[in-house]
């Protein structure tokens, strides 16, 4: 266990008072310290939105890039520097709308990064447009007749593609989230956690209280390695939310398969023009 205070910084926080991101920020620090990591050993990649501001508010290597592209950045950074522990924090807009393609392919690759989606069912920073997880019928200024499209089920999507680690947590239970984060980060492969997060400014239904009442842990007999049971769990038509490890399996990790021949990390590699000369004979 490292000193959790090492992850503190003094950057002014631009989130709304009481924002569901605060407990996530605390849980991330708690999990990293719990795993005995130091700030310079961790990289957090994010895009644009409220959730993606998270790494600015702690002492950590930070790549705050474009909206929806955070997973692509993280995949490459992890390939190039496998000694870094790489996390991605994205909102439901960035992860499931703009970045949907990268999400699919990260599941396929199974590279050892952890994706944490702050799912508050809105594009909150741009004043509450519908996101892919907004419920049908919800009226927004962009959807004056109510959202017509069905909400995405990110957990079912991930499980259907045999994502190596699928978890769910809620901002309303930060200690549980910290514990799940530790498991996800320790899991070798692509780990995905959907965090159910209240939006104190735009959503007056799904409050902290709402999630505390409706989130539940499947019983001790729940087998998270059973894909069909996991699928059944996350597709039940009920207003209750399973939290914890929903599905997990061991799959070959991507770097192990693709870069075992490479001297890493790439930042230490020298420039050697003679390497080109070694290929000339192919053309002679």
């Amino acid at each position: 266990m490292s000193d959790i205070k090492a992850f503190d910084n003094d950057v002014d926080i631009a989130w709304c008072p009481g924002c569901g991101n605060f407990p996530i920020l605390g849980a991330v620090k708690q999990a990293l310290a719990g795993l005995d990591l130091l700030p310079h050993q961790v990289l957090i990649c994010t895009g644009i939105g409220q959730a993606p501001k998270l790494p600015h508010y702690m002492q950590v290597n930070t790549f705050n890039g474009l909206h929806g592209r955070e997973v692509a950045v993280a995949v490459a950074a992890k390939l190039a520097a496998p000694d870094l522990t790489v996390l991605v924090h994205a909102g439901d807009g960035g992860a499931y709308a703009e970045g949907g393609n990268h999400f699919l392919h990260a599941i396929r690759r199974n590279i050892d990064i952890t994706l944490v989606v702050h799912d508050n069912h809105y594009f909150a920073l741009t004043k509450a447009q519908a996101s892919p997880t907004t419920s049908q019928g919800v009226v927004t200024r962009f959807n004056p007749e109510g959202v017509a499209a069905m909400p995405l089920n990110p957990l079912a999507l991930a499980i259907s593609q045999s994502c190596a680690f699928v978890g769910q947590a809620t901002s309303a239970r930060p200690d549980h989230l910290a514990d799940l984060l530790m498991k996800a980060i320790a899991h070798k492969g692509f780990s995905f956690i959907n965090v159910l997060q209240p939006c104190v400014s735009w959503d007056h239904v799904r409050t902290y209280e709402y999630y505390r009442e409706r989130c539940y842990e499947p019983g001790s007999d729940y087998d998270a390695s059973d894909r069909l049971k996991a699928m059944e769990l996350v597709t039940r038509a009920e207003e209750r939310y399973p939290v914890g490890v929903i599905y997990t399996q061991q799959r070959p990790e991507y770097s192990d398969q693709t870069t075992s021949h490479v001297t890493l990390p790439l930042r230490r590699r020298e420039v050697n023009p003679d390497a080109a000369v070694s290929l000339f004979s192919r053309f002679q």
Binding site: N61, V75, H102, V271, A275, A276
Partner: protein, 566 residues
């Protein structure tokens, strides 16, 4: 003395394999060759060709005249009548009548060798015989090429022997004999533009390659994938071009020398990522292999239409470098240098090629590497450890901040696509926003120090000046030298460093010309617009193409002559 061989047929008939064997055989015989490729966007059928110029002297421009036509399909047999001369010979099966067809029994020999599939080898061997060459070098190459397929190798060797055992003389062949130079090996290579770019990337220290397939850039990604084990390079196939450019950013942030290769359509998808690279100030090498647009355009053909797109791509203002190799040798050198420039100044560097340059092949001495930079521009862990704090965007006189990689010290590296302060954290401060914009502007000015002088063959004063850029170099050189041999006194300015420029360096020769003639393989003569802006002079004439086919020496000679005499 030069001989022009065109191998033509349908896609899937092995034209490029045959041309590769012939080009390499010529190279190993201490002769010189240059080949360019014309192919349709299909896997089977249609009409494709590779055109090979061979000589005892180095040559490299595009020509169309056909001395020897190797026709692998009936369509190929009749497609090029206007490019043949009285002396031209045609290598084709006897059942396809043609007045210039040589009497060699292509089909019959292939049948005797055991398979119709070896008629390509029979044809190449016949062309080799017309050039007056002994079979030895070609035989060695066939052995190397088919080494893993014993049965196929045996049939091909039999085909070669049947051609050379035949005592039948080929009428008219003596005219095309190219006496081989001394038989001692020179170690010259037979190499394409995309291979030279790839080797250049290796010499420049590339460690991370990513991209999404798109002609004509894909070959670079394939080369790197084929070599990745030996070179210890990470080659990642991205799910789309947006992922590719963001992966370049992520790898570069982590300290890799990262590149991608794409064409116009793919680059269009990368543009937001380009702006990101500009904002967070990370090195990247982007090979833009151009083809005609708009949209899908002509996927397998050539153009130079993206110069101003690349110059202006991306929202916001940020420095970038644009270089354009003119020939295969420059493909190697300039790509290697691109990596050093990118890392030293923490900017995206574009290497602009096109289908013609990518797919052309030539005989070439092994590239020199002694002069190429070997330094990295990342702070060492030792230097970082001695710092009390690290600020990624520390302001400096040059606008370039010291670059640290994450994980190399106890300092964290913070970057943000939002406007940020010196530490890399998001900011709304008006003062800091202004300072950071100025910093990036200053870096653009500093970057001009890295520019090299563009190739000027003059003097210009009072003479017509031909200005070209990129892949037209060799064809244009040859056309201009023919004009000068006639006493027409034409100067030639060829741009390979296009951005950022010290405007005076471009303006001076352009303004001094009696007549400004722009040669640009694009629909709207983009180089002309560039010169209007940079050199404050509109072209007097623009020679362009809109059909995706390369300029030829004859064509440029004729069009330039008309412009100069006027």
């Amino acid at each position: 003395m030069e001989v022009n061989i065109r191998i033509a047929g349908a896609a899937g008939q092995g034209i490029q394999t045959a041309a590769g064997l012939l080009g390499k055989a010529l190279t190993r015989s201490n002769l010189f060759a240059y080949a360019y490729t014309d192919a349709e966007s299909r896997i089977r059928g249609g009409l494709n060709f590779t055109h090979i110029r061979c000589s005892r002297e180095p040559l490299a421009g595009v020509t169309n005249r056909i001395d020897i036509l190797v026709a692998l399909s009936k369509e190929a047999l009749s497609a090029f009548e206007e490019l043949m001369t009285e002396k031209s010979l045609v290598v084709a099966p006897q059942s396809w009548p043609h007045p210039h067809r040589v009497p060699a029994a292509i089909g019959k020999l292939a049948e005797q060798a055991g398979s119709e599939a070896v008629s390509g080898t029979v044809s190449i061997a016949t062309a080799w015989k017309i050039l007056g060459q002994a079979p030895g070098i070609l035989e060695t190459l066939i052995r190397e090429h088919f080494a893993s397929k014993k049965n196929v190798l045996a049939q091909n060797l039999k085909a070669l022997n049947l051609v050379f055992d035949s005592s039948q003389q080929i009428p008219g062949a003596a005219y095309f004999h190219l006496p081989a130079a001394s038989s001692t090996g020179t170690g010259r290579m037979w190499i394409s533009g995309h291979e030279a770019v790839s080797l250049g990337a290796v010499a420049g220290g590339v460690t991370f390659v990513t991209g999404y397939p798109m002609s004509p850039a894909t070959s670079i990604l394939i080369n790197m994938a084929q070599w990745h084990r030996q070179l210890e390079v990470i080659v990642e196939q991205a799910e789309d071009e947006i992922a590719a450019i963001n992966m370049v950013a992520g790898a570069s942030y982590a300290g890799a020398r990262a590149m991608t290769a794409t064409s116009g359509g793919g680059f269009s998808l990368m543009v937001e990522g380009l702006s990101l690279l500009g904002m967070i100030e990370y090195p990247a090498v982007i090979v833009l292999a151009q083809r005609p647009g708009p949209a899908t355009g002509l996927p397998t053909r050539t153009a130079q239409g993206d110069l101003n797109f690349v110059r202006h791509a991306g929202h916001g203002s940020f420095p970038r470098v644009i270089i354009a190799p003119g020939n295969i040798s420059e493909c190697f050198d300039m790509t290697a240098l691109a990596f050093d420039i990118a890392e030293q100044y923490q900017v995206p560097v574009f290497v602009m090629t096109d289908q013609l340059l990518q797919d052309s092949q030539t005989t070439m001495a092994p590239f020199a590497v002694g002069h190429l930079p070997k330094r990295r521009h990342i702070m060492s862990p030792e230097a970082l450890t001695s710092l009390t704090g690290y600020r990624r965007y520390a302001r400096t006189e040059s606008g370039v901040s010291p670059l640290a990689a994450p994980g190399d010290s106890r300092h964290v590296v913070v970057v943000d696509s939002d406007e940020h302060d010196e530490a890399g954290h998001i900011t709304e401060s008006a003062r800091i926003a202004d300072e950071m914009a100025q910093k990036r502007l200053q870096k653009g000015k500093t970057l001009m120090e890295a520019s090299w002088k563009n190739r000027l063959v003059g003097p210009v004063d009072g003479r017509p000046l031909v200005v070209g850029w990129g892949s037209s170099l060799e064809t244009l050189k040859e056309a201009v030298s023919r004009l000068n041999a006639e006493g027409l006194k034409v100067a030639h300015f060829h741009l390979s460093w296009l951005w950022p420029v010290q405007e005076q360096m471009i303006r001076q020769p352009v303004q001094a010309a009696s007549r400004l003639i722009v040669v640009d393989h694009s629909v709207d003569g983009g180089l002309g617009a560039y010169l209007r802006e940079v050199a404050l002079r509109a072209p007097d004439a623009v020679i362009s193409r809109r059909d995706g086919r390369p300029f030829s020496v004859d064509e440029l000679y004729g069009k330039l002559r008309a412009e100069v005499i006027e």
